[in-house]
């Protein structure tokens, strides 16, 4: 049966993964639950960059693949990177089961601002839907309101909605 399994990557605040498990089915129309397993961060740390190599964590996440229709979402509290880029909010396998997001740069405190839990949850939800969208074969959207819009900053994330535009929604419907 098609479903979404959420995996904490390293130590992550339970309330965030639980919120995602509740909110993602509304948009993606798939059951979602938090796995009992945790993905280890071991070996993914780059001592020079002081960040974690996201692709390595994705590979580790794939080892937990349960069924053909299961999508795996890793949620990390650490800062992620892929080699040529200075950071990523998340990474996904295009048309494949695994995706990962980092909440590190989604906190207001990262930008020297007072923490805002509600804002953090909304950002996490949008980034999770965005990366899972790639798993369903969606590419970036030009509509800044669509969740598939490529966000370079938290401002971009805040500006977009947690839903798909009509065009992306049509593509998604065919995949679900």
């Amino acid at each position: 049966m098609a479903e979404i399994l959420i995996f904490p990557v390293g130590g992550v605040d339970d309330s965030i993964t639980e919120f995602l498990a509740l909110s993602l089915p509304e948009t993606l129309k798939l059951p979602c639950k938090v796995s009992d397993s945790t993905i280890s961060l071991e070996g993914a740390y780059d001592i020079v960059r002081e960040q974690y190599y996201s692709t390595k964590l994705l590979e580790r996440l794939l080892l937990h693949r349960a069924g053909a229709d299961t999508k795996l979402l890793g949620v990390a509290s650490v800062d992620l990177f892929i080699p040529p880029l200075s950071f990523v909010f998340g990474e996904a396998q295009f048309n494949n089961p695994a995706a990962i997001i980092s909440i590190h740069r989604l906190h207001q405190r990262f930008y020297g601002l007072p923490e805002d839990a509600s804002l953090l949850y909304h950002r996490c939800e949008k980034e999770a839907i965005h990366e899972l969208g790639h798993c369903f074969g969606l590419i970036h959207c030009r509509d800044f309101r669509c969740v598939m819009y490529l966000s370079y900053s938290v401002e971009d994330i805040d500006l977009k909605s947690n839903g798909f535009c009509e065009k992306c929604h049509a593509v998604l419907r065919k995949k679900l």
């Binding site: 080699p83 040529p84 295009f94 590419i139 970036h140 370079y152």
Partner: protein, 448 residues
């Protein structure tokens, strides 16, 4: 251009970089290819077209800079972005000197690389659009709007083609409404200056002071009301063509100033100190007898000779009646389209009426007549009753008779009818008494 139509080739010897970047660009909808050596990249270059290249500077074998040179040899318009580590910024500078679009230092900021690619795509799109527009401009020039197969018009077209290839000043002569501006536009559109501006100014419509300001521009505070610095038409036409209509109406002072500009190719804005070099081709037009004005001292002979290097005379419509059907057809199509009406033809009687009418207002009058006819026409063909001149009985004028001859005859008969009562005759002719007096003098009409 949609992202999926943009092809990016990433060349880097690090497999991780290749994989990550390829996936990142693919998520953004681009078509991505990868190569781990310069040799492999060149092989891909011959197999497929690529829009953007991302090249790592340091690669074993062929370096990014060497590869850039080779890509530019094959595809000079290629957008190349160099990727480098902090330690080799000098290489990036060298790459920019050799024509790279930009460079990225690893690791890249996602926002930076995203904007860089979008800007590069936009640049490519603009370049392609520019080529398309120039092509359509060239096509429209080939089919420019000079209509008419009569001998007189063929000579005009030949003259336009001859003079367009040069930078010579051109003087266009012709009665009002014959299409002097159209000929000027055709000269500009066929010249090497065609991608630069063509500036048009009707000198007859402006008082002397305003004309000077329009031509030369002015500095802020040069005169009352000059609140801002403003470029004049000479400056605006730099690189292109300047069309001065009704040149015969400019004052003696403006004539002197214009002559100086034509000789020195430099101007000084009103109230300005600095001389500004200008490069334009002058196309002037007049419906006046400039030779007569030179003789009577109203027009400077030196300016006259400067302007009269190459003259194109446009015949009045009454001297090229054979062109009336094709012109009428052209205007019918034009106004049927703009008014969204389906008028397919002109009835033979209506065409006959047009052929017999003297058209003192020339092609402009014919165009206005057709426009009016299209507006009032309710059927699919223009009838005599739709033509504005249908209400006036127009005697057939022989092709040999000039407008001047017709005008002279009409004035003479009106004066005879009124027993040379100037005021009454002027009222009948709907002109001012002074104008009537000038015309009597011009046509040498004597009281019998």
């Amino acid at each position: 251009m949609n992202n999926e139509n943009v092809r990016i080739l990433v060349v880097d010897d690090e497999p991780i970089v290749l994989k990550s970047l390829s996936e990142w660009f693919r998520d953004d909808g681009y078509a991505v290819g990868s190569a781990s050596t310069g040799k492999e990249a060149l092989a891909k270059l011959t197999e497929e077209d690529w829009d953007i290249f991302l090249l790592d500077v340091k690669m074993p074998g062929m370096s990014g800079l060497e590869l850039q040179k080779k890509i530019k040899e094959v595809n000079p318009d290629a957008v190349i972005i160099i990727m480098t580590a902090f330690a080799s910024v000098e290489s990036a500078v060298e790459a920019l000197k050799q024509g790279a679009y930009d460079y990225l230092t690893k690791p890249f900021d996602p926002e930076h690389v995203g904007h860089l690619i979008r800007n590069a795509v936009e640049r490519k799109n603009l370049a392609a659009e520019n080529v398309r527009l120039k092509k359509s401009l060239d096509e429209s020039i080939l089919a420019h709007d000079i209509i008419g197969g009569s001998g007189g018009m063929r000579e005009v077209v030949e003259a336009v083609e001859t003079v367009s290839k040069t930078d010579t000043s051109v003087l266009i002569r012709g009665e009002s409404g014959t299409g002097k501006e159209l000929v000027a536009k055709a000269i500009h559109a066929n010249s090497r200056r065609r991608y630069m501006p063509m500036i048009i100014l009707n000198c007859g419509a402006l008082p002397e002071g305003i004309l000077e300001s329009e031509l030369f521009g002015h500095e802020k505070g040069a005169f009352t009301g000059a609140q801002y610095r403003r470029k004049g038409k000479f400056e605006m036409a730099d690189g292109g063509s300047l069309f001065l209509d009704e040149i015969g109406d400019i004052s003696q002072k403006t004539q002197v100033n214009l002559l100086r500009v034509l000789e020195e190719k430099k101007i000084r804005r009103i109230g300005g100190e600095r001389e500004i070099a200008v490069d334009f081709r002058l196309i002037a037009a007049t419906n006046k007898n400039l030779e007569g004005s030179v003789e009577s001292g109203l027009f400077r002979s030196d300016l006259y000779y400067r302007l009269n290097v190459f003259t194109i005379r446009i015949p009045p419509l009454r001297e090229r009646r054979d062109d009336i059907p094709s012109l009428a057809e052209h205007f019918l199509r034009k106004y049927s389209q703009t008014t969204n009406k389906h008028i397919e033809s002109i009835a033979p009687e209506a065409l006959e009426r047009m052929m017999n009418y003297p058209w003192p207002g020339n092609v402009r009058e014919l165009e206005n007549a057709i426009e009016r006819a299209v507006v009032v026409c309710k059927s699919n063909a223009i009838q005599v009753g739709h033509l504005p001149m249908s209400t006036v009985e127009t005697p057939r004028v022989s092709a040999e008779k000039t407008l001047d001859a017709v005008e002279r005859e009409h004035i003479r008969s009106t004066l005879a009818e009124t027993d040379w009562n100037i005021s009454q005759a002027a009222r009948f002719l709907n002109i001012d008494r002074v104008t009537l007096y000038r015309k009597i003098k011009k046509y040498n009409i004597k009281n019998p």
